[in-house]
C-alpha cells in the first residue's frame, strides 16, 4: 500500500477522516498525518488536531466530537499507531 502523499515511504503516518463541520473547518475530507514523536493517544488527539487546524479550535468543533480508531469507538488511553484510520465524528444528524 503506497502512502497517498509524497512523504518518504519510511515515515510513519496515520489517516485522519473529517466529516461535516470538521471537514469544513479543515477544508479536507481526509489527510495522512505524520506520527508525532510523543505518543499520541485518543485523550490528546483533540489538542493535537487543534494545533494542526486552528479553525477546529476557533469554531469549537472538537468539543462535540467523538473519535474512532479503525472504525471502533475506543478508550481514551488507546494509542494511535502507524496506519491507523482515525475518524473525527461531529454530533450526528441523520434521518
Amino acid at each position: 500500500m503506497y502512502p497517498s502523499n509524497l512523504e518518504s515511504s519510511k515515515e510513519k503516518t496515520f489517516k485522519a477522516l473529517y466529516f461535516a463541520a470538521a471537514k469544513d473547518a479543515t477544508q479536507m475530507t481526509c489527510e495522512n498525518i505524520p506520527m508525532p514523536n510523543t505518543t499520541l493517544t485518543m485523550a490528546n488527539l483533540s489538542e493535537f488536531l487543534a494545533q494542526r487546524h486552528p479553525a477546529l479550535k476557533r469554531r469549537q468543533i472538537l468539543e462535540g466530537c467523538l473519535f474512532t480508531v479503525n472504525e471502533e469507538y475506543v478508550d481514551p488511553e488507546t494509542i494511535i499507531k502507524h496506519g491507523d484510520e482515525v475518524a473525527i465524528i461531529p454530533p450526528v444528524s441523520g434521518g
Binding site: A20, G64, E71, I89, P90, P91, V92, S93, G95
Partner: protein
Amino acid sequence: MTSTRSQDNTIHIEITHDVIQIIDGIEFVRSNQAGAIVTFLGSTRDNFNGRQVVRLDYEAYEPLAIRTLHQIATKAKTKWSLHGLSICHRLGTVPVGQDSMAIAVSSSHRREAWEAGEWILEQVKAKAEIWKKEIYQDGSEWKANKALPQ
C-alpha cells in the same frame, strides 16, 4: 450504494445515493405471519423554523454507519420479535419533498410494529454516523440531532 442483509434475510440495511423506493422496503418486510407493517419516511421540508430550505445534503462515514444501523436493527428485531426490518438512508443532495430515510418493520401484531418503528428512528437519529447540511438561499448549516433522553 452499500447494503447488508442479515444471515436469515430478515434485515436489510442500505445506504444509497439514489431516490428511495419505500415499496421495496415494504415488500422486503412483508410476511404471511405479519399482520402489521409500519413505515416511516423522513423527507426534506422547504423550511426550518420559518427559514426557507433549498435542499439537504447528507454525508456519512459509510462503513461505520452501515454497521451502526445493522446493530440497531438487530436489537429492535429481537426486542420486539419483528418478522422483517428495513432501513434505507440516502446520501448526497435530497431535494425538498424527497425522502432521506425510510424505515419499514413488520410484526405479528400492530403494537410491536409501532413501538419498534419509533424506537429505531430515534436510535438512527442519535447514533448513525450520518450528517445533514441544511442549505438555505443565503447560507447553510450542519445540523445536530438532539441527544437521546438518557
